[in-house]
């Protein structure tokens, strides 16, 4: 593996924080981009204090922050200090991408909107990904992944009739739809820059981005006036559900398509009617894993509902594929990280470094900003860097 990583040579100035933004820039960092987080000691990323914490709310102990920020660098800057803006613009001159997930007024307050940055570097790809976009009545609204799922209609499709909706139980849009859309947009802008030599601005509304990858309920309403509910039937399936198995809180998901899989299921159960009841009774006398293997042996899509311990077990499928990774962190020690959900025939996907300590890479500022060590020291003395 003597060759470079695919995104080697791309530098990202990264103002994003909390959920979707840092996961976007993590994707770039994991494939070789140099991602430099711009952080504040006075107003640190909430994720640095978010559970699960190994200690008591220090800034370097969060398992949440750690898994979202592999392979990145951190610079600590007081954005309120005079001179901070100039320092960022100096860094932007040598950068390829600048990213933020603030509401639109924050970058305006910093004097670091696209026009400001493009004036010093017209090749910059400038990503803004606030919750609700750059315009419209909600433009300054705030929220988390779950809030976005709620507005988008995703949260309401998790649940049972007659009870409160429960969503996915996670901040789903933060982990998949929004960082993946944002990363695709940035990569596409970089591809176009190779042709044109020009940068551009990318504006994302995380609500819109979530809805684009969750279109079917809205398409159905727009064309047919039909409002989707959580218990909607699905085309092409004879039977689909999560069945209780013999163990404690032990469940198996079974998705039986019409045709051959349904025929195989009837044969396995030895019944021709009341298939769902027969499957439920069959599952109740087996562990979920046994049920899964018996169904899969007949070509029926099934899986035990994996608990966290199942996901990470040593002899599990995910570890057989090398999905989980461990990294040594100076404060947290050796801890578990979600890996990359892809294997490349020629690009290694092992992490190179753990999440940075706040301000860990301040020493690299002269190179990052193209300034002398003396100039940077003077800025530190003025409180710009701290």
């Amino acid at each position: 593996m003597s060759r470079s990583l695919p995104l080697a040579g791309i530098r990202v100035i990264d103002f994003t924080w909390v959920g979707a933004g840092p996961f976007t820039t993590k994707i770039l960092a994991d494939f070789g981009a140099e991602v430099v987080k711009i952080e504040s000691r006075t107003r640190p990323d909430q994720l640095r204090r978010a559970e699960p914490l190994v200690g008591k709310r220090g800034l370097e102990e969060s398992g949440y922050f750690a898994v979202r920020n592999t392979n990145k660098k951190s610079i600590s800057i007081d954005m309120k200090a005079p001179g901070a803006r100039d320092l960022i613009l100096d860094m932007a001159r040598n950068a390829d991408v600048m990213a933020n997930s603030f509401s639109p007024k924050a970058m305006k307050k910093f004097g670091l909107e696209y026009a400001d940055v493009a004036a010093v570097n017209p090749r910059i790809v400038f990503l803004s990904m606030p919750m609700a976009g750059a315009t419209g009545p909600y433009r300054d609204y705030i929220g988390y992944g779950m809030s976005i799922a709620a507005i988008a209609g995703m949260f309401g499709l998790g649940g049972a009739p007659g009870r409160a909706p429960v969503g996915t139980g996670t901040n789903f849009p933060d982990h998949l739809p929004n960082p993946l859309h944002a990363a695709f947009a940035v990569l596409s802008a970089l591809a176009w820059r190779r042709q044109s030599g020009k940068g551009q601005e990318i504006a994302i509304s995380q609500i819109e981005s979530t809805m684009a990858a969750f279109p079917d309920a809205v398409l159905d309403y727009a064309a047919n006036g039909h409002v989707a509910s959580p218990d909607g039937a699905k085309e092409g399936y004879a039977l689909r559900g999560v069945f209780r198995c013999a163990g404690d809180d032990d469940w198996c998901a079974v998705a039986v398509r019409t045709g051959a899989p349904f025929d195989a299921l009837r044969k396995l159960l030895g019944v021709t009617s009341d298939i769902e009841a027969a499957l439920a009774a069959w599952a109740r006398t087996r562990t979920a894993e046994t049920a899964e293997r018996a169904l899969q042996a007949q070509g029926i899509a099934a899986s035990l509902v994996a608990r966290p311990a199942d996901l990470i077990r040593d002899d599990g499928h995910l570890n057989a594929r090398g999905f989980w990774q461990h990294l040594e962190h100076p404060v947290m020690g050796r801890t578990l990280y979600h890996g990359i959900a892809a294997k490349f025939s020629r690009t290694p996907t092992g992490y190179r470094s753990c999440a940075p300590l706040l301000g860990q890479h301040n020493d690299e500022l002269p190179e990052l900003a193209g300034l002398s060590a003396e100039q940077i020291e003077a800025m530190a003395a003025q409180g710009v860097i701290k």
């Binding site: 909430q46 929220g143 209609g153 949260f155 309401g156 990569l187 990858a213 309920a217 892809a342 690009t347």
Partner: protein, 399 residues
């Protein structure tokens, strides 16, 4: 956007998948040349709902229109040697393939990555399968629900007193498709740095596992097993609360993840809610205190009294004016009619079925110089088969 500059105009994508068309849609909507390679019966996405009205024929799927507008369709029967040769010919001029089959299957067809990369060393072949190409479950059958179960998401979804659930909407499939688009672009952009094309092996189970948030780390760092909690809030101020016409999601804390607890208390107090003052006491700024059942109940009762007479949209707008992260839990009608999304012009024409124009979600991102644009309609099954065959026979590039 007539003659608009396209970011990906010089990229050619072949989509061999049955239901992962969102990956190549991302390419198509930024100007790439995307061709669906379909079996004679058409790909499965043509038969997937929602459909237009009561129609169920191969051109009536709204889902397929959304995924496929602007793409081309070529029918290739991979059980037939001449058609396989045609596909190999097309691969010479292809940048990216998105596939959903195991390599063992493709090798038997003479279309394994090592076989076709000889024809085109710059080819990026991105495979997405339920459990990836290797490991003990590689050959297992899968679908969206199985991915959500095996990847650990279903365990986190549902009510404390019932079994795990899967949110409708093919979240695993759309996410895996997006992941494939991103990984393909990374490999494409890295062709010079890495020395050519690559094979990419994506596991849907792993993509879903990325969405399990910190459930694995809660277990390894704290010995806590996260599980579904249903309508019970994580702590007072972070949860689902009933209001006059449905539910709102409130996400307020002043330490850890979340802001605005003091703002919520001020809102309740200024609205004359009984007992609101008690929530200003210092212990209410401690997350562990707020996670105790009796304290969650106390807050729930106070907030319920306030919200019972207010609608979710009003609570949303009034709360956000106070910088509180509150949101309405919308259904598809409310989302489609949302004032903000409509003011932004988000919903757009996404295709047409026999003259009926269809509306749906528009741009997931706005690129200032190379705007996103949906295609005008999805191709009929095999609509471009003849044109593509002719261009290959005459030795012209596929155009």
């Amino acid at each position: 956007m007539i003659n608009a500059v396209k970011a990906l105009a010089n990229i050619r994508v072949l989509d061999l998948t049955q239901s992962l068309g969102y990956a190549s849609k991302l390419f198509a909507d930024l100007g790439a040349d995307v061709t669906l390679v379909e079996p004679p019966a058409g790909i499965a996405a043509r038969r997937q709902g929602p459909f237009l009205g009561e129609r169920r024929d191969e051109n009536a799927s709204l889902h397929f229109q959304y995924l496929s507008a602007g793409k081309r369709s070529v029918v290739i029967d991979l059980t037939n040697g001449r058609d396989r040769a045609l596909l190999r010919e097309m691969l010479r001029n292809t940048d990216i393939v998105i596939d959903d089959r195991l390599q063992a299957h493709r090798i038997a067809e003479g279309l394994g990555y090592n076989q076709v990369s000889e024809l085109n060393p710059n080819l990026v072949w991105c495979s997405v399968t339920p459990f990836g190409q290797s490991g003990p479950r590689a050959a297992d059958a899968g679908d969206d629900m199985v991915a959500m179960a095996s990847g650990g998401m279903a365990w986190l979804t549902g009510y404390a007193d019932r079994g795990p659930l899967v949110v409708e909407g093919d979240l695993a499939i759309y996410s895996a498709a997006q992941y494939a688009a991103v990984m393909s672009m990374i490999a494409y952009l890295g062709r010079e740095a890495t020395g050519g094309g690559q094979f990419i092996d994506i596991s849907m189970q792993e993509v879903v596992a990325l969405g399990t948030e910190t459930a694995p780390q809660f277990l390894t760092l704290k010995g806590i097993e996260r599980r579904r909690i249903g309508e019970d809030e994580r702590q007072a101020g972070i949860g689902i609360y009933p209001c006059r016409d449905g539910y709102v999601l409130l996400y307020a804390a002043d330490s850890g993840l979340g802001t605005g607890w003091s703002d919520v208390v001020a809102w309740l107090r200024e609205s004359g809610v009984p007992d609101a003052d008690s929530l200003s006491a210092p212990e209410w700024f401690d997350n562990a205190f707020k996670a105790k059942p009796e304290n969650k109940r106390k807050f729930r009762a106070i907030f319920a009294a306030f919200a019972a007479t207010r609608g979710k949209q009003d609570l949303f707008e009034q709360g956000q004016a106070r910088h509180i992260a509150i949101a309405p839990i919308n259904d598809s009608r409310e989302a489609f009619n949302d004032a903000h999304l409509n003011a932004c012009g988000f919903f757009t024409r996404i295709g047409e079925i026999d003259g009926t124009e269809l509306k749906g979600p528009g741009a997931p991102y706005h690129l200032s110089e190379t705007p996103w644009a949906a295609g005008s309609r999805a191709p009929r099954l095999g609509e471009q088969t003849e044109a593509i065959r002719k261009s290959l026979v005459s030795g012209e590039a596929v155009a």
